[in-house]
Amino acid sequence: MNEVHWAALAGYPLLATLQLLPLLGALFAADPAQGSPGGGRRPPVCGRRIDRGARPLRAHRCLDDSVMQFAERLDLLAYHAAADGISVLFILLTALLGVLLAFYGMARQQVTPVHLLGVLLLIEASLMSMLTTMNLLWFAAASALQLALIGYLLWRWASASEEKLALSRFLQYQFFGWCLFVAGAVVLVWSHADANPLGERWSFDLFDLLATPQIGKYQSAAFYLLFYGLAIRTPLFPLHGWLPNSAGYGLIAVGPVLLLGVKVGIYGMARFLLPLTAEAVVIWQPYVVAFAMVGVFYAAVLAFRQANLRRLMAFAVVSHTSLIVIGLFTLHPAGVQGALLLAVNFGLAITVMLLMIGYVYRRAGTTNLDRLGGLFDRVPFIAIAFLVGGLALLGMPGTPGFDAVHLVLEASIEAFGALPTIATALGNVAAAGFLLWAFQRAFLAPRPKDLPARRIARTSPMEYAVGGAALLVLLVAGFYPEPWLHLTDSATQALAALFHP
């Protein structure tokens, strides 16, 4: 694995800046002197800085994207960060979501408590750290920080009386998943150190681990520990037990967007799991794919049975995440590329839908489908944004999901044959049913008597701005996907080459 030092590509350590800027913003937000409403308007500025920082990535696109770029090392802290075609879309998405959530908070008048903003920025920093680090321990540490902060958000700003249940399920599952991931990392590093002909040396660095011989004896154990740890985060059937309660009774949009918008579980699989446990991946691939295929249908069936829009979305996420995992575990260049694009597309589409659900909750005071209806007349923009988000989840032409689903299904036919692929595609079509059904009930069905038209405020300019920005990115990326395909092409080819030399 090769890397290019940051000094050869940019005038400053870009990846460290991406991690430190939100941290500085969080410190600034935590300053009591900034507790005035004016102080709460900082994050968009910080978000713009992140976007500006991302420009060199585009400027140096001519480099081979499978080579790690903007590499930074600090041996004292085992700090090693770099970016390539696998991480670049996730990094851009994280920056975009940070800006959107800050504006969303302003639109929902949630920004006044400045420390909410501080927490958001800290989570942004931890996500950036997870997406840029090449070190398993740094990844685990940033993951722990992010989960603890989201747990705090759940505890502080949950929207339902069952918040304790949501919080306890979230913490139990995520803590267990985190322990599994760390245990997997320790097994992997210990086995590598044991097998190293140059003598025993413990290193959690991806480059060091790839440079030492592949371990055979404990690779399956390491694979399953890492996979379970990441699958709980993703979340993947049957390890998704925390999500329905957390989504149904916790935060409406901010928490779920931070957990589900950026699919760090999928990123972790592509970055660490596939290259480090390649032999075990090949052995266990059929079982993982079989569970994912069951998950597509299982979650679709449960989504149909939900009366709450938020729980319905939770099962939609489980169903679609299974499709991403199928793409990733085809171990085919097109499948891996499709899976990564699909993860980013789903992240963006889910974000749009969750933000719109937040706006619906603000007006109706509920997300229960029995108590919603007739919203299209009063808030057509929110309805259309929700619909476009839903169609993007399905992979409609004009959204990035179209190309991504096409790549995944093409690779799936090659890897598993036509029948399992048709079944998977049918599961994806089933998703169309429950999302359109939810749209029809919430926005087009007759308005219930306890939801008079005068209670439903018209869409505010800030809501237009947030929804419009997200939709614009979604549609532009959908109609012009070439840059994203080009960005991820070499890196995904290199990853798949581990399995098809």
Partner: protein, 37 residues
């Protein structure tokens, strides 16, 4: 058609109730490790 679908839905609900209990998650993970080791 609706009857079997409703039945499948009820089964899925029952499974989901189990999956939402952390102890079953732990059992599942331990069982997997026992099998592969």
């Amino acid at each position: 058609m609706m009857k079997p679908l409703r039945r499948i839905g009820r089964y899925a609900d029952a499974i989901e109730l189990l999956l939402e209990q952390p102890r079953y998650l732990m059992l599942m993970v331990m069982a997997t490790l026992v099998v592969i080791l």
